[in-house]
């Protein structure tokens, strides 16, 4: 099961992160997240922030997508492709949701940035950062 995990740089995804802040898999962005209360079968809203590592400016217009799944059960959240809106515009802060966790456990939320961009070149803005999210 490829939830990211401790795999190293040659793997498609970097390690899934604990806590709420860290770099994306290619160190292009400094990312962090917060959310409304997380409960089973409730609507949760995420607030995801990304800034460019190179110059500290907000990663605005990053076309963020949140991939939400429970690795231990090989299970996807029923809320596929939750809407992501940059709030306010230009801030690099994205309001994402609603997200529903329909089982308890250690979920993974992988935030993809610039999903529209190919990732062939090192300077592609495409990136991803994954976090563990515990659902009681």
């Amino acid at each position: 099961l490829s939830d990211g995990g401790p795999q190293g740089c040659a793997q498609p995804y970097g390690a899934t992160l604990y806590n709420t802040a860290g770099t994306d898999d290619d160190c292009k962005y400094q990312t962090s997240w917060s959310s409304t209360p997380i409960m089973e079968n409730a609507n949760t809203t995420f607030f995801f922030t990304a800034i460019h590592t190179a110059d500290g400016t907000p990663a605005s217009g990053a076309n963020v997508y949140a991939e939400v799944f429970l690795p231990s059960a090989n299970h996807l959240s029923p809320t596929a492709n939750p809407p992501a809106v940059e709030t306010p515009p230009g801030s690099g802060v994205y309001t994402i949701g609603p997200v529903v966790f329909d089982q308890p456990g250690q979920w993974t939320v992988r935030f993809h940035l610039h999903q529209e961009c190919r990732d062939f070149l090192p300077n592609s803005p495409h990136g991803h950062a994954a976090y563990y999210v515990n659902v009681p």
């Binding site: 099961l1 490829s2 990211g4 997508y65 090989n74 596929a80």
Partner: protein
């Protein structure tokens, strides 16, 4: 004149619904797949011809998709059953795949249905597929996700 019973009306409605759904849009085993494949590809080793169908939409729309393979011997056109199949959806342009593992179900007559295929971004996805058993071969058809 007797009034039709509720049970008979329900039965008629069910028959009508089934007739409306028909069998013309499904290959053997149905499951919501269209009658015409999205593509047909020869396996890398040349032993197999594999027809590819997608559901609920064909071509597929981003999200969780089901894939149907109809597998036949390239030389004779005979359906090939009893194979073990592993499929990895892979987005070559992004250098990553999906985060959940697809589930394979063999239906007989060379039909293999693969569910839980999460192609969550639009664009070209490669279906990296390995067959093992009486035939060991691979196919890597590319589908354009809307």
């Amino acid at each position: 004149m007797t009034r039709p019973s509720l049970r008979s009306l329900v039965g008629l409605a069910l028959v009508a619904a089934l007739a409306a759904c028909g069998g013309t849009n499904a290959t053997a085993g149905d499951g919501g797949f269209p009658s015409t494949p999205l593509s047909s590809v020869a396996s890398t080793g040349g032993a197999l011809n594999v027809s590819v169908y997608t559901a609920p939409e064909q071509p597929p729309v981003r999200g969780v998709v089901s894939i149907r393979y109809v597998v036949k011997e390239a030389s004779t056109g005979t359906p090939v059953d009893g194979l073990t199949l592993e499929l990895t959806p892979w987005m070559t342009a992004m250098g990553h795949g999906a985060s959940v593992t697809p589930t394979v179900q063999a239906l007989g007559q060379g039909i293999y249905d693969v569910s839980n295929v999460d192609m969550f971004m639009p664009g070209p996805w490669q279906l990296r597929t390995t067959f093992s058993g009486s035939v060991n071969d691979t196919v890597n058809p590319t589908v354009q996700v809307q």
